[in-house]
Symmetry: C2
Subunit: 263 residues, 2 copies
């Protein structure tokens, strides 16, 4: 099953994906609701997608692919240690990634499989972690590398507004370790890797995290990327993960985005 | 005015502090509500305090006092760069800080003044930042130093469950730069410092952060501490900030906390 959140008359509404249409639901499938339908179906092509969830805590994994760690020149992690991203940066499928005017050099996409937590969890076993994931979506961990290296935290390098596209929906039935991630810019393939090449899998992260931390329904865990892809304003970046879907976002320069706001 | 959130019959309710009692309110004062009263007054002494807000984004400042930076052996920050903490770790006034069994060595309190954002803010001027703060509360940035030094992120050193007491209420009329922070353990003063000795003030942080990031009502910004105080299970730590109030939390060992859960 695929669940999405869309904007209908300015309200956030859960919807079930049914082929080419989205069927609005009553309540949230993360809170045990979401079965009964409410309102008219919306064609997928016409929908305004929101981030599928706004988490209580936004977990993200740093270096979780060997090749990426080697490329970045950092040690391969020996333990599954989560990091964090910030909700202000979230945008939905189709919304514009805005490149701030001050960003120079590498401005990169990272296509990531994302676990959406479905249950309250503390001291989970591996089997409990598997059962507690509600489903899987796609994240693009947009990063401004010069800021990442210059700053004491990831505040603006990874958390500037629009730097965290997520969506388009949550797929409840995919195996996150058996997929292929493909990153395209304007339709051209720029990177492709197997999701299963992760150093630690999502369940290992959940087991380790919940030794100390309670995870809650709607929390998200971004699983890292094996490759980075340069982004330029004027292009569109697609992150396709087989078995889940395609997250597509145009890239605009800050000055161009402001002109559009004025129009 | 002082606003708090308390648990009434298992529900989270906003309340106005009126001397020794809390008067429950309709709606949230952060969303323009909170004027009309609803329900019976609750004596402060009997109330179950919740964290005054659960933020969309939980901002925290790292090294914001010269003495603390020197003590920690790190360079004094040249720019106001925010970091982050995680909502799972929040507890209210009176709730127990639980020291995990694996924590050795320095397990410390840091008493911090906390700005609660009241308006949506992007590219704020200093004057706009001043107007956008709804009020001030108190945070205790509990930290397990061995984990802080051993780990790649602050995930368990600063974000384990119960490591972020906040409260007891939001004071709307205090000057955050003209107060004294006093940290007591079992009533004995262990640290005292002027809030105004900050390297960058809250408004400077808001101006810099909102150059790239939209802040939202209910977001919190923890302003750092000038001193750290060792905590031991069995004791109670009070963070008093003049003009705001006193945040008080008992400290329990994990095994002791579990026995209490079972009772």
């Amino acid at each position: 099953m695929r669940y999405s959140r869309i904007s209908v008359d300015g309200r956030a509404v859960w919807a079930r994906v049914d082929g080419d249409v989205l069927r609005p639901l009553r309540g949230s499938p993360l809170e045990g609701g979401g079965n009964a339908e409410a309102g008219r179906a919306v064609p997928v092509a016409d929908a305004t997608f929101l981030p599928p969830v706004v988490p209580n805590v936004f977990y993200a994994v740093g270096m979780n692919y060997k090749r990426h760690a080697e490329h970045a020149g950092v040690a391969i992690p020996e333990r599954p240690e989560v990091g964090y991203r910030a909700n202000n940066a979230l945008i939905g499928h189709g919304q514009a990634i805005v490149k701030p005017d001050g960003v120079e050099g590498r401005f990169e996409a990272e296509g990531e499989v994302v676990a959406v937590i479905g249950r309250r969890l503390r001291r989970a076993t591996y089997a409990e972690a598997r059962e507690a994931v509600f489903g899987w979506t796609i994240g693009n961990d947009v990063s401004a590398r010069a800021w990442q290296h210059a700053d004491r935290s990831f505040w603006r390098s990874k958390n500037s507004d629009t730097f965290k596209p997520m969506g388009p929906w949550i797929e409840t039935d995919a195996d996150p370790l058996a997929q292929t991630t493909t990153v395209r810019v304007d339709g051209e393939v720029r990177a492709s890797f197997r999701t299963g090449a992760m150093i630690f899998d999502p369940y290992e992260y959940i087991v380790e995290t919940t030794r100390y931390i309670t995870m809650h329904p709607g929390d998200v865990l971004w699983m890292g990327a094996d490759a980075t892809v340069q982004l330029e304003p004027g292009s569109t970046v697609d992150i396709e993960i087989s078995g889940i879907g395609t997250l597509s976002n145009p890239v605009l320069s800050e000055s161009r985005a402001e002109r559009q706001d004025d129009e």
